[in-house]
Symmetry: C2
Subunit: 421 residues, 2 copies
C-alpha cells in the first residue's frame, strides 16, 4: 500500500464523507437554529472539517461562526519551558467570553482529536495544577453546557497523533485514513442518508430510555471480573439517550457518535468495587486498569496500572470528584464496540461500553432538574464537582441487573447485551 | 529553480531566522515582563512562528500564552454563504475577553499576514457592515492598545496568499520563501546580533523625535504630484518613534519592523489635497490611487481608482473617520522602501513611506495625553473614531516642510529624504 497518497477516488470519497460529517454535526449534533451564533473549539489539524462545518452552519442560517483553535504542540511547549510558579494559571478571560456567548444564544460545537499521550512524560504535579486551574476557570461555561442551557455537540477529527496511537503499526498517513474511516462509520457519515439513519437511531435510544424510566430502578448492580458494584440511582432520576431538547428549545445530539443511555446515580449510594475495562485518556495521560472501591458513594481506595498519580490527583480535585455523576449502559454489540478498536478517546470508547463518570451530574437526568437549584438537585442525590470524567466498566463479561425499590433484581444485561431488545 | 523544496541548508537558515524573529517579537516587540500573560492573534498559516514565539515567551517567564488563530477561508465562507441579515454581527464576547485579559496584565502580540484581496469579489455592503460591526465590538480592546495601557507588538508571517500577491510571477513556494526573506531583512532577523541592531535603531529614531519635539512645528506642509497638503499638528503634540514605554511600565516596540516617527495632527486643521503613493490593503480590499480634499480637517471630496466604494463606506463610519489621527515621516531611503517591494500590507508599506492615518489618534502623541480624558484630548485636537487606517503619501517626489507657529517654513524632507541627518 502506498503510504503517502490516496488515490483520487479515495480522496473524493473522503471529501464527500467529511462534508457529510459536517452536515451531521450541524443538523443532527447542534440542530442549529437559524440566526444562532456558533462557537467551535477545534485542534488546528481539524481545519478541513472546521471549514466544512462553517459552510454548513452559514447555509443553515448561523449569524456568526467563530472557531477557537488549539495547538497541542504549544501546550507541550508550556510544560517544557514555563516557570514552575505559573501552572496555576488558566485563560479565565477566554472561558468567560465563551460563557457570555452561550448566554447570549450561541451554540457550542467541540471537535476533539487529542493525542492520548501528549503529556505522558511531563511533570504530574504541573499537569494536575494546570488541569485544576483550567477546570475552575472553565466552570461558568461548563455549567451552561452540562445544564443544557444551550444546544451543543461534540464530534471528532482524526489528528495524526491520535491516529498513530490507535494504529501504531502503520504509517501516519495510513493511520489517519483508517481513523477517519472509523469516525465516519461510527458517526453514520458513510451512509447515503445519514440524517434518516440518525432519526431511526434516536428513535431506538428514546424507546430504551422510555422502558428504563417506566421501571424506575433504585439500583443498578454490575458484576464481572474485578467488579461487584451497586450504583444507587438518584431520586426522580431520568434516563436520557440520543437527541434531547436543551433549555433554549433546540433539539440536539450532544455526542456524535452516541450509543449510550444514561442517568444520574445517587452520590451517597454507590458501594462495592469496580475495575475499568478500557484505558482512560485524560488530558494527555493514559490511565489504565483502574480499580476503585466505593463506600456510601465515595471512592475510598483507588489504584491504576498506569497514570495512577494523575488519577489520584484528579480524585483530590474537590469533594465531588470521588463520587459519581453519571452511569451509562451501552450494549457490547454497539457498532463502535464491534469495530474492535480501542480509540483512546472517551467520545468513542464510552460508546463502546457501559461506563460511569466521576464528578458533575447532568441536571437533565433528574425529573424537572433543569429548573432546580443546586441544593434541590443535591437533595435528590445529584453530585457536584469541577470535573466530569467518564470511564469504562462494561464488557462482554459484565452482567447488569436493575434492582427495584423493593429489592427485586431484574436482569438488564447479560454478557454485555440487553436482555430485552 | 526548484519550486517545491528548499535545500536542507536553506531550511536550516530559515528555521534559525524564524527563531530569531520570534525572539525579537518577544524581547524587542513586547519587551515581555516575567509573569506576564501573552495573547497572540495569528493567521493559522503562521503556526510555526507561533510555536517559536510561544517557546521564547515561556522562556522569558510568561505566565500563560494563548493564541487566537484566524482562518481567512472561513471568513470567506461567511461572505459566500451567510444570510444577508447577519452581517451586522461581531464576536463581541471574544473582544471583551481580550480586553479583560489586557486589563488583568496580558501583553498583546499580533501576527499579520492577510491576503490583500481576500474579499475583493464580495459584496461591498456586506463587507462594510461586517467591518463596522467588528470595529465597534473591538473598541474596548483597541482602546487599551492605542492608549498604550499595555505593551504590545505586531509582527508578520509570510502566508501563501499574501506572498503570491507580492510575487505574482513565481510559484507559491518560491513566493513564500522570498517574502519570508524580505520579512527577516526588514525585521533585522537576518543579522547576527538582532537585539543589538534594534537597540541602535531605536536610539536613532529617538534622536529624530527629540529634534522634532524641540522644533514643535505648528504645521507640516507636504508637496508632490497631486499633493499640496497642510497638516496642522495638535496642541502639545509629541513625536514618537521606535520603542516606547506603555502605561504598565514596559518598554515595547509596537511594530516590527518600524522606520517611522509619528505624531498627532490637529483634527480641525488639515487643508488641501493629497494623493496616495502606494495601494492600501484594507480588510481584504485593495484601495488604489486615493485622492482626497481636506477642509478644516475634514475630507470633503474622495475618490480612488479601485476600492472607492469601500473607501467611501469607511469614511462614513463615524464623525472621526473623515479626519486624521496620525501623521508619520519615513525617509525614502528606509530599508523597506529600498527593497523596492510593494508589500500590500500596512505594517511594511507604512514604513516605506511618509503617511497619514484616518481615524483614532494615539493619546501618547499628546504631552501627558495618557492621563487625559477624551474631552481633554479632543481640546488639544486629537481625533476620535472607531477606525485607524494608515495610507501612504510619501515618495521620492514628495517634499515636506515644517512650519513654525510664526508661519516660517523650514525644509524637513526633500525628494523623500531628511534634510538634516
Amino acid at each position: 500500500m502506498n503510504d503517502q497518497f490516496r488515490s483520487p477516488a479515495a480522496d473524493t470519497l473522503h471529501a464527500a464523507r467529511l462534508d457529510r460529517l459536517a452536515e451531521i454535526a450541524v443538523r443532527v449534533g447542534l440542530g442549529l437554529k437559524a440566526g444562532q451564533e456558533v462557537v467551535i473549539t477545534a485542534p488546528i489539524e481539524a481545519l478541513p472539517l472546521v471549514r466544512r462545518i462553517t459552510e454548513h452552519a452559514y447555509k443553515a442560517g448561523s449569524s456568526l461562526v467563530t472557531t477557537l483553535f488549539s495547538d497541542e504542540e504549544s501546550t507541550l511547549l508550556r510544560f517544557q519551558h514555563a516557570k514552575d510558579d505559573t501552572f496555576d494559571n488558566a485563560t479565565g478571560w477566554l472561558y468567560d467570553g465563551m460563557a457570555a456567548a452561550y448566554k447570549s444564544g450561541a451554540a457550542r460545537l467541540a471537535i476533539v482529536g487529542d493525542d492520548p499521550s501528549l503529556l505522558a512524560k511531563q511533570d504530574t504535579d504541573k499537569v494536575s495544577r494546570a488541569n485544576r486551574a483550567r477546570s475552575k476557570a472553565y466552570r461558568p461555561a461548563l455549567d451552561l453546557i452540562v445544564g443544557f442551557d444551550i444546544n451543543w455537540t461534540i464530534v471528532s477529527a482524526a489528528t495524526p497523533a491520535w491516529a498513530k496511537a490507535v494504529f501504531p503499526e502503520v504509517s501516519e498517513a495510513v493511520a489517519v485514513a483508517k481513523l477517519w474511516d472509523a469516525i465516519f462509520a461510527a458517526s453514520r457519515a458513510d451512509l447515503d442518508d445519514p440524517i434518516g439513519a440518525w432519526n431511526t437511531h434516536n428513535a431506538n435510544l428514546h424507546a430504551r430510555t422510555k422502558l428504563l424510566n417506566a421501571k424506575s430502578y433504585a439500583t443498578l448492580h454490575f458484576r464481572g471480573p474485578g467488579t461487584d458494584l451497586r450504583v444507587g440511582l438518584a431520586d426522580d432520576h431520568e434516563w436520557n439517550g440520543g437527541s434531547s431538547r436543551a433549555k433554549n428549545g433546540v433539539v440536539c445530539n450532544a455526542n456524535i457518535p452516541t450509543e449510550e443511555v444514561f442517568t444520574t446515580p445517587h452520590k451517597d449510594r454507590v458501594d462495592g468495587f469496580v475495575r475499568s475495562t478500557k484505558p482512560l485518556s485524560y488530558q494527555g495521560t493514559l490511565i489504565q486498569d483502574i480499580e476503585v472501591k466505593f463506600e456510601n458513594g465515595r471512592i475510598v481506595e483507588s489504584r491504576a496500572r498506569t497514570g495512577e498519580a494523575v488519577l489520584n490527583k484528579v480524585l483530590e480535585t474537590d469533594e465531588g470528584s470521588r463520587r459519581l455523576g453519571e452511569v451509562a449502559l451501552v450494549p457490547n454489540s454497539s457498532p463502535i464496540s464491534q469495530s474492535g478498536l480501542l480509540f483512546l478517546n472517551t467520545l468513542f470508547d464510552e460508546n463502546a461500553s457501559s461506563h460511569i463518570a466521576l464528578g458533575q451530574a447532568y441536571s437533565k437526568c433528574i425529573r424537572n432538574g433543569g429548573s432546580m437549584s443546586e441544593q434541590e438537585l443535591a437533595a435528590k442525590g445529584a453530585n457536584t464537582s469541577l470535573i466530569h470524567i467518564d470511564w469504562m466498566i462494561g464488557s462482554s463479561e459484565v452482567d447488569v441487573d436493575g434492582v427495584t425499590a423493593e429489592g427485586e433484581a431484574e436482569p438488564l444485561m447479560r454478557r454485555g447485551e440487553w436482555v430485552t431488545q
